[in-house]
């Protein structure tokens, strides 16, 4: 029974992490129609940032580190968007290719800077003791991670639904030309959303550190998960990303635990079903 509970919690925490990762991806794709293939690398950069920072300064709080990583990655993302992506406005294929190129650059840079061994990220000390609930033992950090994901989901929802920035984003997602015509600074919006997406991914990288560790290839492991979540949940739908993340979190965790050889195929199946029977995803608003 403990096994099922633990796997269940692992699923939830992975789902939470995936949501933090794919929410940014979904936002960027929804508004900018850009499949940001650098997204896994942004996440990994955050994880490395967290691993190295916490290794050097053991007194540092993981929350501060996550915030710091988020800001650094957001800044990097913003530079990339301004210097490279804006020049390719008329070349959507080119945009995808440079995000791919950028992901190669970042992942190799991590290899150069921090070597090929995996660097663990310590769980914050005050969350190391397990929690006992209903007679079961839960790793506390994972519980907290789920809570953070839910909080982030609520925060993003409020941002998109209740603020002026959110209204502009929604307008841009629905009809970019119309938004521009009514005076919404679409170009600046793109930069803001790209930075936001990258920053969330970077922060998520730190938060995922205690579970995943920083290792070369983390970006290649995370990016397809984000892709599958967004394909499943539907592009342009934050709610879809939320639901999709937890579905994939469960499938991946239980799959790896029960049938490790076939875990990837099991991930594959919901994606095939969705594409075959509902190509716009569970909650998608745009046709791919």
């Amino acid at each position: 029974m403990q096994f099922w509970i633990i796997q269940g919690l692992n699923s939830l925490s992975l789902g939470g992490l995936l949501f933090l990762l794919s929410s940014g991806f979904s936002l960027i794709f929804g508004l900018m129609r850009l499949a940001n293939l650098t997204h896994g690398a942004f996440f990994m950069l955050g994880t490395y940032f967290g691993a190295v920072a916490l290794r050097e300064y053991s007194g540092l709080s993981i929350w501060v580190t996550a915030l710091g990583a988020g800001i650094v990655v957001a800044a990097l993302g913003g530079l990339f968007e301004r210097l490279v992506l804006t020049r390719l406005k008329t070349n959507p294929l080119g945009q995808v290719l440079v995000t791919l190129g950028m992901s190669f650059i970042i992942s190799d840079a991590c290899l150069v800077l921090w070597g090929g061994d995996s660097i663990p990220v310590p769980t914050p000390r005050n969350l190391q003791a397990p929690t006992r609930l209903f007679g079961f033992v839960f790793p506390t950090y994972r519980l907290v991670l789920v809570g953070i994901a839910v909080a982030a989901a609520v925060a993003l929802y409020l941002l998109i639904d209740r603020t002026r920035l959110g209204a502009m984003i929604r307008a841009g997602v629905d009809d970019r030309q119309m938004a521009r015509a009514v005076g919404i600074p679409v170009s600046r919006l793109f930069t803001i959303v790209f930075c936001l997406g990258a920053g969330i991914a970077g922060a998520a990288g730190v938060l995922g550190g205690p579970i995943l560790s920083a290792y070369p290839g983390l970006d290649a492991d995370m990016l397809p998960l984000a892709l599958i979540v967004v394909i499943l949940g539907g592009i342009g739908s934050l709610f879809g990303a939320f639901v999709g993340s937890f579905i994939i979190g469960f499938i991946y965790t239980f799959g790896t635990a029960l049938v490790p050889d076939l875990a990837y195929i099991i991930l594959f199946l919901p994606m095939i079903f969705v594409i075959a029977f509902r190509p716009q995803g569970l909650f998608g608003r745009l046709g791919t």
């Binding site: 794709f29 129609r33 850009l34 499949a35 293939l37 490279v84 020049r87 390719l88 070349n91 959507p92 294929l93 080119g94 995808v96 290719l97 440079v98 791919l100 190129g101 950028m102 992901s103 190669f104 650059i105 992942s107 190799d108 840079a109 290899l111 150069v112 290649a220 990016l223 397809p224 892709l227 599958i228 967004v230 394909i231 592009i235 490790p260 050889d261 076939l262 875990a263 990837y264 195929i265 991930l267 594959f268 994606m271 095939i272 594409i275 075959a276 190509p279 046709g287 791919t288």
Partner: protein
């Protein structure tokens, strides 16, 4: 002008086995394999307007199938090659049905996700694929009893396959089906209104591109006598895509030139720089920002301008 270019190309292709040392002959073989792979991808990208980031799936699966059939199940090379190609083509048909539910970026994402799944499987299913160790100790076929173990012999073999591939793709592209493919790329709605079935045209092309990708995969595993999951990686697909775009997706031969350049760059750069991936990424950025239509069209334009000036 065309005869001149043709003569030069023939000379370039015939030089290595006749005059160069083993290292360069082997390099030339690798270039031929990369060229076939890039040409097969360009059927999708340039002629079909479908950009795929998962083309390594077909190279890798064909290679793995051949490796397993010959080393583990005792099949002869001829049968193994046939079965590998059939298996890969069947997979391409299946993948095509899934990927073609979308177009544009959705298509790209699905092809990427599918190939990543295969890559993950190759790593995880170690009792079948040997995981990170790869499958070693493979042999090259001996068509008509002729051994392909020497670099020169393999080069001739690869060259014959490459020429056949190029000619067949040239025929495909200029046929009525090829014209309808280009039509669907440019104006899918108009083509449907004229009576063409856009989905079927794309799907058949997808399968055909997978077929030639499988052929490249067989040559790849014969050349290396070894197969590893990295052959299925996104880097592998990306290198082919870079070759297509750098060489020029609008031409038939451009991707071959681009693939050659990418391979040469990889070979020479890795002598000086350890980080090939980073260089690959930078080259991507450079090509897309500076030369989006590719090298072959760029050179063509340059030649036209020079001829224009002198006449």
């Amino acid at each position: 002008m065309k005869w001149f270019a043709g003569a030069i190309i023939a000379a370039v292709l015939l030089l290595p086995p006749l005059f160069a040392g083993d290292f360069y002959v082997n390099l030339a073989s690798q270039i031929l394999i990369a060229a076939i792979f890039a040409l097969s991808l360009n059927l999708l990208v340039g002629f079909g307007g479908m950009t795929s980031l998962g083309h390594a799936s077909y190279l890798g699966v064909a290679a793995y199938l051949s490796a397993l059939l010959t080393s583990r199940y005792g099949f002869g090379h001829g049968t193994a090659a046939l079965l590998s190609i059939l298996g890969t083509v069947a997979m391409a048909a299946f993948f095509g049905v899934i990927a073609l539910r979308a177009t544009g970026l959705g298509f790209l994402m699905i092809t990427l996700a599918l190939s990543q799944v295969l890559w993950g499987l190759a790593y995880r299913m170690s009792d079948v694929t040997n995981g990170d160790n790869g499958i070693t100790g493979l042999t090259r076929p001996a068509p008509f009893g002729i051994s392909l173990d020497s670099p020169v012999a393999f080069y001739w073999f690869a060259l014959i396959v490459a020429v056949i591939a190029f000619v067949m793709m040239a025929i495909f592209v200029s046929s009525s089906f090829g014209s309808s493919l280009k039509g669907v790329r440019d104006q899918p709605r108009r083509m449907a209104a004229l009576g063409f079935n856009p989905w079927m045209i794309r799907w058949i092309t997808f399968i055909y591109a997978g077929f030639w990708g499988a052929v490249a995969g067989l040559l790849y595993v014969y050349y290396n006598k070894y197969i590893h999951p990295t052959s299925l990686s996104t880097t592998s697909s990306a290198e082919a895509l870079l070759g297509v775009i750098a060489g020029g997706s609008g031409t038939l031969g451009g991707p071959a030139v681009g693939a050659a350049l990418v391979l040469l760059l990889k070979n020479y750069a890795s002598a000086y720089i350890e980080r090939w991936n980073m260089l690959l990424g930078l080259v991507f950025l450079f090509i897309v920002l500076v030369m989006p239509t590719g090298i072959v069209p760029g050179v063509h334009k340059l030649v036209e301008r020079l001829r224009g000036r002198s006449s």
